[in-house]
C-alpha cells in the first residue's frame, strides 16, 4: 500500500535555533497520527512545514495525489500546492478566527471552498453548506449568521465544516480543542471521531492534550526540542512510555 503522506527528514531552523529536526514518518490512508509534546517542542513548526505554510530547510513531504500519484509537495509549484490546500487537504486552526472569515456568514464560510474549486450554482452551494452545518450539529437556521455571533465551540465546528466540505483526504489539525471547556471539548472530539471514521479521513493532530490523542489517534509521536523522541501505537506509548520525557509527559496528567 502506498502511504498517503510520506515525510522524510523534515528540518526547519530559525537561525541558530532548531524548529524541528530530521522528522520522518509515513501516514497511510485512514490513519490518524497524533503529535504531542510541550510548548516549543516544534510540533506546530512541523505541522506548518507539512501543510505548506512554512518552507522546510531540508526534507521531503511526499503526498499521494489523485492525479499524478506520489509527489513532493515541498518542490511542487505554488499553484499546485495551493490547489491541494483547498481540495485534498484541510487545515483546522487552533483559533477558529484564524481559519474563518469573521465578516462572512456561516454559509458563506462553508461555501467558500466550493466556490474556490469552481462551483457556480448558488442553490447547490447553499444546500451543501446547510447540510454540512447540520452534520457538525449547527441548526440550519443559523446559516446566515456571522461566526461572531457563535460560541467558541460552534465557531470551531463551523471551521471543521468549512474544511471538510470539499471531501479532503488529509486533515491537519493544530490543537483543535484548545481553548474550549471540557464538555464542549468532549462533544467536539466525539464529532471529530465520527467524521474521521465515516469519511475514512487521514489526519495529523498536533496537541498537548493526551486525552485528545488517546481518543482520536492510531499512532503517536512524542516530540521534544524539535526531535521525535518516541513513536508508536497510541496505547503502547501512553501505557508503556520508554523515553524519559514520554514518561514525564504521561505522569504529568492529573488524575481526577
Amino acid at each position: 500500500m502506498t502511504p498517503l503522506l510520506s515525510v522524510q527528514g523534515i528540518t526547519k531552523r530559525y537561525g541558530a535555533h532548531i524548529g524541528c529536526a530530521d522528522v520522518s514518518f509515513d501516514l497511510y490512508p485512514g490513519e490518524v497520527m497524533g503529535i504531542v509534546g510541550e510548548s516549543g517542542s516544534g510540533k506546530s513548526t512541523l505541522l506548518n512545514c507539512m501543510a505548506g505554510h512554512l518552507a522546510p530547510d531540508a526534507g521531503q513531504v511526499v503526498f499521494d495525489t489523485r492525479a499524478d500519484g506520489p509527489k513532493d509537495t515541498v518542490t511542487m509549484s505554488e499553484p499546485e500546492r495551493r490547489m491541494l490546500g483547498r481540495t485534498d487537504w484541510a487545515f483546522v486552526h487552533q483559533h477558529a478566527r484564524d481559519g474563518l472569515r469573521m465578516g462572512v456568514s456561516a454559509g458563506g464560510n462553508v461555501g467558500e471552498r466550493l466556490m474556490a474549486v469552481g462551483e457556480r450554482h448558488y442553490g447547490d452551494i447553499r444546500g451543501k453548506a446547510t447540510d454540512w452545518l447540520e452534520r457538525v450539529e449547527i441548526d440550519a437556521d443559523r446559516v446566515d449568521d456571522r461566526p461572531t455571533t457563535f460560541s467558541g465551540g460552534m465557531q470551531q465546528r463551523v471551521q471543521i465544516a468549512r474544511n471538510l466540505v470539499t471531501g479532503p483526504r488529509l486533515v491537519f489539525m493544530d490543537e483543535p480543542t484548545g481553548g474550549l471547556d471540557v464538555s464542549v471539548q468532549a462533544r467536539l472530539l466525539d464529532l471529530l471521531r465520527g467524521l474521521v471514521r465515516d469519511m475514512g479521513l487521514s489526519a495529523i493532530i498536533v496537541t498537548h492534550d493526551l486525552a485528545v490523542v488517546r481518543l482520536l489517534a492510531d499512532r503517536l509521536m512524542v516530540m521534544k526540542s524539535g526531535r521525535v523522541v518516541e513513536a508508536g501505537l497510541t496505547d503502547q506509548v501512553l501505557d508503556d512510555p520508554q523515553h524519559a520525557y514520554s514518561q514525564l509527559l504521561v505522569s504529568s496528567v492529573l488524575q481526577v
Binding site: 495551493r82 458563506g108 467558500e112 471552498r113 466556490m115 469552481g118 457556480r120 450554482h121 448558488y122 446566515d144
Partner: protein, 283 residues
C-alpha cells in the same frame, strides 16, 4: 500656456505613465503599478484619471469630462478648465465630438468609436480589497487566478437580500483571466465594457495603479448560474426626454414625496430634447 508644460505633467512623467498604459493594454485587466504624482487637487477627485488623460492628450484632441454622467458638475467643470488652461485643448460636452473622454462613474449612453479613448477615475482598483485585507495576498490571488472569494461576496449578497444587491463597481472577468473592478459605474453600464470600440483606461491616483481594456475585449460580469447578472436601472422613462434605454438619476423635487427620473447622461438627454423628444416633466 507658457507657464506649464503641455498638459501639466513633465515629459518624463508622461513617458512613465504611457509605459504603464501600454503594459496595461498588453495585459487586459492587470493592475500596473505606476509612480503617481501629486496633482493640484485632492485624492478622490480624479488624480489618477487626470494623470492618464494628461499622458494621452495631444494638442489636436478634443476633451470631454463626465462626472456621474453630467458635464456641468463641480468635478467635471474643474477638470475641464484645468486642461483648457494647462493643455489649451478644445473641450466639448458632446460625446461624439470628443476624442478623449475622462469619466467618473458612468459610460456615455452613445456608443463610442475606435477614434475615442475613455479614461476612468478609479478610487479603489482592487476588487478583492474588502474581502482580503492583505495586498500581498490579493496580488498572489490575481497571479494564481484564485477568484473563489469574489463569489463569496455575491453569495453573501444573495443570502442577505435574496438577489445580488451589488449595484455599482460590479466585478467583471476580463478575457477569462483577470477579475477587475470597473470603477464605481452602475452595473447598468457593465455590458458596455465588453466589446467596446474605444480604448478604456483606468487610473487610480492614490492607489498608484493603472489598468486598461483594449478595444473589443471580452468582459464578463460575475454571477451564479441560478442568479444570473442583470443590468438594472430605475423602471421609468426619463422625465425630460422620455428615453427608456438610458440610466436614470432619481431627483427629489420637494418634501411631499415628489420626485422625477432624469437621464444621468446630460449630453444624451439634451441631444434627445433637441431632436424633439419630450418627457412628462419637461417644462
Amino acid at each position: 500656456m507658457t507657464d506649464y508644460n503641455f498638459a501639466y505633467l513633465d515629459e518624463q512623467t508622461k513617458r512613465m505613465i504611457r509605459r504603464a498604459i501600454l503594459k496595461g493594454l498588453a495585459i487586459p485587466g492587470y493592475q500596473v503599478p505606476f509612480a503617481s504624482r501629486e496633482m493640484p487637487m485632492p485624492y478622490g477627485w480624479g488624480t489618477g484619471g487626470v494623470q492618464v488623460s494628461a499622458a494621452v492628450l495631444t494638442p489636436d484632441d478634443t476633451f470631454k469630462v463626465i462626472d456621474q454622467g453630467a458635464d456641468d458638475t463641480t468635478n467635471a467643470v474643474s477638470i475641464r478648465s484645468f486642461f483648457e488652461r494647462t493643455a489649451g485643448v478644445k473641450t466639448t460636452t458632446a460625446t461624439s465630438e470628443a476624442s478623449v473622454i475622462q469619466t467618473r462613474h458612468r459610460i456615455p449612453e452613445e456608443p463610442l468609436t475606435e477614434d475615442q479613448i475613455l479614461v476612468y477615475q478609479v478610487p479603489i482598483p482592487e476588487p478583492l480589497r474588502f474581502l482580503e485585507p492583505r495586498e500581498s495576498e490579493t496580488r498572489k490571488m490575481h497571479s494564481l487566478e484564485e477568484y473563489g472569494l469574489m463569489h463569496v461576496k455575491l453569495y453573501e449578497d444573495i443570502s442577505r437580500h435574496g438577489h445580488i444587491a451589488t449595484s455599482y463597481a460590479y466585478p467583471v472577468k476580463v478575457e477569462g483571466r483577470y477579475v477587475m473592478d470597473p470603477s464605481p459605474i452602475p452595473k447598468f453600464d457593465n455590458p458596455k465594457l465588453g466589446d467596446m470600440a474605444a480604448i478604456q483606461l483606468f487610473g487610480a491616483g492614490r492607489e498608484q495603479r493603472i489598468y486598461a481594456l483594449p478595444p473589443y475585449t471580452q468582459v464578463v460580469s460575475l454571477d451564479f448560474e441560478d442568479h444570473p447578472f442583470e443590468a438594472s436601472k430605475a423602471d421609468h422613462p426619463c422625465g425630460l426626454c422620455n428615453a427608456t434605454d438610458s440610466y436614470l438619476d432619481e431627483v427629489i423635487m420637494d418634501d411631499q414625496g415628489g420626485r422625477m427620473f432624469v437621464c444621468s447622461d446630460t449630453d444624451y438627454c439634451e441631444a434627445r430634447r433637441a431632436a424633439g423628444h419630450k418627457g412628462k416633466d419637461a417644462a
